[in-house]
Symmetry: C2
Subunit: 409 residues, 2 copies
Amino acid sequence: QPSSGSHQTLKEPSKPQRVMVIGGDGYCGWATALHLSNKGYEVAIVDSLVRRLFDHQLGIDSLTPIHSIHNRLRCWKSLTGKTIELYIGDICDFEFLSETFKLFEPDAVVHFGEQRSAPYSMIDRSRAVYTQQNNVTGTLNVLFAIKEFREQCHLVKLGTMGEYGTPNIDIEEGYITITHNGRTDTLPYPKQASSFYHLSKVHDSNNIAFTCKAWGIRATDLNQGVVYGVRTDETEMHEELCNRFDYDGVFGTALNRFCVQAAVGHPLTVYGKGGQTRAFLDIRDTVQCVELAIANPAQPGEFRVFNQFTEQFSINDLATLVTKAGEKLGLNVQSISVPNPRVEAEEHYYNPKHTKLVELGLKPHILSDSLLDSLLNFAIKYKDRVDTKQIMPSVSWRKIGVKTRTIAA
Amino acid sequence: QPSSGSHQTLKEPSKPQRVMVIGGDGYCGWATALHLSNKGYEVAIVDSLVRRLFDHQLGIDSLTPIHSIHNRLRCWKSLTGKTIELYIGDICDFEFLSETFKLFEPDAVVHFGEQRSAPYSMIDRSRAVYTQQNNVTGTLNVLFAIKEFREQCHLVKLGTMGEYGTPNIDIEEGYITITHNGRTDTLPYPKQASSFYHLSKVHDSNNIAFTCKAWGIRATDLNQGVVYGVRTDETEMHEELCNRFDYDGVFGTALNRFCVQAAVGHPLTVYGKGGQTRAFLDIRDTVQCVELAIANPAQPGEFRVFNQFTEQFSINDLATLVTKAGEKLGLNVQSISVPNPRVEAEEHYYNPKHTKLVELGLKPHILSDSLLDSLLNFAIKYKDRVDTKQIMPSVSWRKIGVKTRTIAA
Ligand SMILES: NC(=O)c1ccc[n+]([C@@H]2O[C@H](COP(=O)([O-])OP(=O)(O)OC[C@H]3O[C@@H](n4cnc5c(N)ncnc54)[C@H](O)[C@@H]3O)[C@@H](O)[C@H]2O)c1
Ligand SMILES: NC(=O)c1ccc[n+]([C@@H]2O[C@H](COP(=O)([O-])OP(=O)(O)OC[C@H]3O[C@@H](n4cnc5c(N)ncnc54)[C@H](O)[C@@H]3O)[C@@H](O)[C@H]2O)c1
């Protein structure tokens, strides 16, 4: 039983101390857990490790070698003297989640623990349903656990910029003020998600907003852009702490895949026209943003939404940047267009706002720098581990069917 | 194997013939299945009968005596010579749903088959999660079944006016044109649902909209108001066809409960201030609306939204109307205010549009007439069956917890 003295922070919500990182064995969660531990927070990781199972099932692997969560945490302890508690289990199992809440007594929960790949959710019917059940039920359970066991606990929930889609007007941070037939109201920003994964995040946002209103939950929804990069201050302290780097057609994002393609001399695979524009940020900014959200919590009953990204690029922009950076490193980089496996606009207006985290103090990294020191350099360093069969897209938005598919590379 | 000749309607989508009614043993579904059968459609009912199980579990019952689905269908056949096919099973079981699609080959699916009570979804955590899983997964399965087995099939999906909440601007039918910072787009109308049930409908709408875009599904989302009344032309043909009438605190709507309260001399229980305003329609208009939607199907890829209601009233308006109608029938009706178990605005602007179904030909019934010939008269006829312990609200939006509750009357 931890001494209740350490929980006085509940009365000073501006400085929560005990942070539960759900999904803390994953890409963003691992970097965040170490960062918060380093900054003096008491951290617990909650994770079912199901993401490692997906990799086995799909026959894919991180470019960087990653260690078991148990060894990662032992290494962290021996380097820094800091303990990160570990709870292995599925948050869809409410009995498990209740126990973790009772034992750890979090002041903030950072919830990364979802199936997070759009292509994964479009492989077949059972993965589509799994994605929505896993994500929606997990988040509902977290909301109930907070209501029942830690009413003052601040929920920091990872959403995605993909929830908004590509409307033909500016994208605001969560809400939009609409004047219509002479009356005005501020309403949730209309969402147009375009995969079962992105839709699961929209469902989550709607569920969380309701519980803030009905139960007084305090929540921050971080609509995150596409995260890139491997390095954070903590993960580079030891190779056993190294973060994952996905480059396959299911979990790898366009930018990661371009870097790997550049490193192995494969042409960059641009989907369709390449005018698709998205929001991006460095993993070092993810951990900063999450810390800023925790340090400046939402008020009871507040459903706060931040657009968490630093720059925006089209796919063609990315190809150009990777080509240029590759040249600096002596690589000769080509691009090709491949048929777009997704259903998405390939040319569109895109102007999402992202001032709230900057106002809280975010100091952004810049992609053109990161390419050289946290992306291409890793791709080159580990290029012997590249499995080129994983590079091409393997999932089609239109061809998804009801039969369970085995999509080994 | 039905002759494929009868399926030429697929090429003339304006007159689909084979209609699958999911949830056809329920209140709206039963009236709709009989109505469509009467009008010459080939009808199949798909239902797990889980709603009858909820009644057993909660210790509640329909005011009107209802017969087994098997006897209902035998009675219909003997009265009219018409066969309604019956498939008993859970649409969350995709193997079952696939079989029904392959056997019946629907041209239209009317999907009523969800857990449809807001209070039910707020009883405890497990019912909240059940409601979202049952409704979201069921609808996902229907979408996959259409894509895989009946690409041209028109999905007519029951949503609710409650998806919109009570914004301070006019409510449009599904979409709103927004001009923002000098640019204009037409976007999904922002939703603010206020129970896990209503949220499940928002999730469904978002999922369906995506599949219309990605797969070319043709869908009509009927955002239905609160349905009242027992009588339809078909159900009154024989007492074995009688529809259900819910008046309990979980499945009964305010209007039904007021009628039963008036009939047994219990004061009408107004939640809070009674300024809550909602949209309403007669069950005879529900069956008309669904037929109009089927007869005028959405185009491939179109996600069409109709607001399906005819009049709007505040709770206080309803109490006044029931009091007046009761007086005509010789009843002395009182009202009391009870603490509002829900979290909702008790005074608010409310102006939802509902012209699209009228344009298609809807001829509305009027509540003040229906009270006398389809509501109060039934409440009085069956008043000896009233269980007064079921009349008061038993579920609180704020007190919902994680322990499984047995809320017997
Ligand atoms: N990586 C990105 O570019 C990006 C962009 C926007 C948003 N996000 C969001 O950030 C979060 C983390 O993304 P990531 O890239 O680190 O994903 P990841 O797959 O690397 O990590 C997710 C972790 O959650 C765990 N998990 C999943 N379901 C769980 C459950 N039911 N119970 C317990 N643990 C569970 C997995 O085992 C995994 O370790 C996700 O919610 C994702 O949607 C990521
Ligand atoms: N009654 C209203 O006032 C009202 C208002 C607005 C919208 N609606 C919507 O209309 C639809 C029908 O409402 P109702 O009042 O007739 O409800 P109901 O409970 O009387 O009927 C629903 C039927 O669906 C069946 N069902 C539920 N889950 C199922 C599953 N997974 N597989 C197979 N069958 C399943 C139930 O057994 C039941 O017979 C619902 O979707 C509801 O949300 C109703």
